[in-house]
């Protein structure tokens, strides 16, 4: 994760992307979330989905690398959520 300089009030802005069936399931497009209580990928999910639970099959990445939902995030990170990959 990129190390950002925290704002004085610890607010973070996180870019968020959803792919494939998750993107289509979103009631409206969302590009970023912000708040001072965001610590982990799971927090980003909660903020972006109005506190819905993150389904077990959902995969995530931070700054273009696969990650776990318990990984922490830093101001300016790009977080993505997606279903199991089906390339090849």
């Amino acid at each position: 994760m990129m190390s950002g300089i925290p704002n004085s009030d610890n607010r973070m802005t996180i870019k968020v992307k959803f792919f494939a069936s998750l993107r289509e399931a979103m009631p409206q497009a969302i590009d970023e979330v912000d708040g001072s209580d965001i610590r982990t990928i799971a927090d980003v999910w909660a903020r972006a989905t109005h506190d819905s639970a993150m389904p077990g099959h959902v995969l995530c990445s931070v700054n273009l690398e696969h990650c776990e939902s318990t990984d922490s995030v830093t101001d300016g990170d790009e977080v993505a959520f997606f279903p199991p990959v089906t390339g090849g």
Partner: protein, 144 residues
């Protein structure tokens, strides 16, 4: 090593030939390749077209990391991954992986590793359109 993400139909044999032609002459004894092609049936249904979505930026990076890992695990000379995205028709090539090595075991092993790793990790998603006009996301890749 090279990674190509392409938005229009590509000719796998032409890409494979371009790859092998660029190898130092006489060094490679073995080239293993895999071509994945869109089928017109899946899970019992007729599929008339498909959209391949991906995560630009992450895809390239993930495929390059997969090739790096292959080059560390096996004694290989070079490797190539070409992957299609966008709208695809049955019979179109989806993916090409090629590995050249001095000896065949490394070429076979690494080529198969590229495909298995790509299927497990690379951020691509397939949405099929069926003959009745409905569409659905492919939920899961089969294990190889």
């Amino acid at each position: 090593m090279s990674v190509l993400i392409v938005e229009t139909a590509f000719d796998p044999e032409a890409e494979q030939r371009a790859f092998t032609s660029a190898l130092p002459n006489g060094q490679a004894g073995a080239t293993a390749s895999f071509i994945g092609t869109m089928r017109n049936r899946n899970e019992g249904d007729e599929v008339v077209s498909m959209t391949l979505e991906h995560y630009p930026g992450m895809t390239d990076r993930e495929l390059a990391a997969i090739i790096d890992e292959a080059m560390q695990r096996w004694r290989i000379i070079n490797a190539l991954i070409v992957h299609r995205v966008g709208n695809i028709q049955p019979g179109d090539t989806i993916v090409l992986t090629v590995v050249s090595a001095e000896h065949r075991a490394a070429a076979f092993d690494a080529c198969r590793f590229l495909m298995e790793a790509l299927k497990q990790r690379a951020p691509f998603w397939k949405k099929e359109t069926l003959s009745d006009g409905s569409s659905r996301w492919v939920e899961k890749n089969t294990t190889g």
